[in-house]
Amino acid sequence: SQWGEENLQALSIQEGEDVTMNCSYKTYTTVVHWYRQDSGRGPALIILIRSNEREKRSGRLRATLDTSSQSSSLSITAAQCEDTAVYFCATDAGVVGQLTFGRGTRLQVYA
């Protein structure tokens, strides 16, 4: 498998808390994508971080990438109920046309 064990998990937090999801991968990648999937819908890209970037921000989202440890994280600041979703990381394992997805982290944010 391309993925480390910590990629499969579920998190439950209260609204307003910060949360971090981790993703570790075993094969070199040129990029890490983070997608979110809402119930009943297809995944949607939220952040793309390239191998020459260490951090990328988008609103309340922050992604990091450590190529030496082959790991990435996605943080959400002051989570809201609408952040409830499944979050996936995905890598290319060096193959231009392919994207391999992790098993996902199910995040539940309650009021």
């Binding site: 997608y35 819908r41 949607a44 793309l48 996936f88 046309g97 392919q98 994207l99 997805f101």
Partner: protein, 114 residues
Amino acid sequence: EAAVTQSPRNKVTVTGGNVTLSCRQTNSHNYMYWYRQDTGHGLRLIHYSYGAGNLQIGDVPDGYKATRTTQEDFFLLLELASPSQTSLYFCASSDGGASQNTLYFGAGTRLSVL
């Protein structure tokens, strides 16, 4: 917003049956993909294509054929469906290879093989 349309949305067939899942994108993207999603596995790539007439094998191709008839249309074929192919199938497209570009997903087709 990129548009990827899958049909049907739900399908039930019997073991040994013949099933075709359809996908159309209207964004002039050259790459199209078929993934399956199963609990505990995330999304797994079945086949993908970078243009009409082209087909590339993904990570879990066994039991599946695919055909890209036009730039817009990508089909997934299960010629002898088995219960192990019961899954949620997603089609996606991207403008350029998946590595450096956004994948736009359809709403999915839920397939049950009895």
